[in-house]
Amino acid sequence: MTTLKQTPLNATHRAMGAKMVDFGGWDMPVNYGSQIDEHHQVRNDCGMFDVSHMRVVDMKGAGVRKFLRYLLANNVDKLTMPGKALYSAMLRPDGHVIDDLIVYFMTEEWFRIVVNAGTADKDLAWMKAQAAVHAPGLDIADHPELAMIAVQGPHARQKVWEALPGSQELSAGLVPFSAVEMGAMFIARTGYTGEDGFEIMLPAKAATFFWNTLAEKGVKPIGLGARDTLRLEAGMNLYGQDMDETVGPLESGLGWTVDLKSERDFIGKAALLANPPDKKLVGLVLLDRGVLRGHQHVKTAHGDGEITSGSFSPTLEKSIALARVPNGVQIGDTVHVEIRDKSLNAKVVKYPFARNGKGLI
């Protein structure tokens, strides 16, 4: 048995009664009590997540913006205000997705990137290999010594301000999808739940104290189980499920993050232009009784498709999914999902399914 990696909060999770699971090689809390209660806690009040397994990568030096213009499918020239963030895919030359990430513009000589845990080593190697050719002077360094705590929900920002003296003055003016430094901490108004809140990066040795202070202010711990249903309701992709190195961003619901209009060249652009996809990502709501799950087969009038992420939506109290289906499938169509020996009816919907405390379907 291989040893699982641990975040600085591992012992704290266990002391709080978490059920721990192997999550891509990390020993992580999947739930502390009821996963559904944890889900509602975030939609209606606020909760905190240990996301220290995600990796922070800093790129520093002259020409960093020029390099990122070429490295990422979204256009970093949209970032003009220091602290502003952008969601982007990073593509292979064949247009397939290496990872999805958030990039923060701090100064013209410093951009900060947050990548997924399972892909971090691969991402870093790719970034360094590309920089060696296109931006040899750039300093690219990851920061596994940083912990990350997400506090999410309608009351999340207020709770962080109560737990962290001085943070309100610095972060009250942050517009959504932007960040500010506070000493050794980095406070970003971002998240993966469809609710307001912060993602806070801080030195590993300070993580337990900050987590416990939030708990004293009444912030409940939330496991990765509820994180998955929250992000699915919010219509946010999960790397490894909704896209990976076998598909491109356009058939993964990420067309809105890919800039094909400007003159700018980027890795994967030529392949995307040469191979327009014949599939797209849509939302499904199950009309019959059952639960949609990843990899279930979808039959439509235009051909076959597959569910990429599916679960039970606690907000809608129905089963929902993201599915990759032929382009001809339209919103409002009924499709058939094969579950065990049955063929169940599902309706094609526009997602997100829920955000800001409310169901949208």
Binding site: N31, G225, R289, G290
Partner: protein
């Protein structure tokens, strides 16, 4: 919660209660519901269906995952618990009350040969390592 000693168990985490008329009532154990988490869907076998021992015959689905439920012994289904259609969470709150189906065993001796509470606990303990 300890496993009730008046019940029989399977290594696949079903509990089995023998009724006065010799029929059996089947559900999933405290340990199983705890592993699966919040239940959101139960599909029970229809009355009249003939089952072989260890055959997949029901499905319980939590937010996290789907799990098969197996026939503890061979026999014929006599009833399914329709209350779980609208309240699958009863399996979480009352695992030994929220039965999934009832069946008439082909041989009473098959039921007697199932695990007792102590033997089942040993199965659970061995899975923890």
């Amino acid at each position: 919660m300890s496993n009730p000693t008046n019940l029989k168990y399977t290594a696949s985490h079903e509990w089995v209660k023998t009724e006065a008329d010799g029929s059996i009532t089947v559900g999933i154990t405290q340990h199983a519901q705890e592993l699966l988490g919040d239940m959101v869907f139960v599909e029970a076998p229809a009355a009249g269906r003939k089952l072989k021992a260890k055959e997949e015959c029901a499905v319980v689905e939590s937010v996290k995952a789907a799990a098969d439920v197996y026939a503890p012994v061979s026999g014929t289904v006599t009833a399914a618990n329709g209350e779980l259609d609208s309240a699958p969470e009863a399996i979480n709150s009352d695992p030994y009350g929220a039965w999934i189906f009832k069946m008439k065993p082909d041989n009473a001796a098959d039921v007697a040969a199932l695990l007792d509470a102590a033997a089942y606990q040993a199965v659970v303990d061995s899975e923890a390592h």
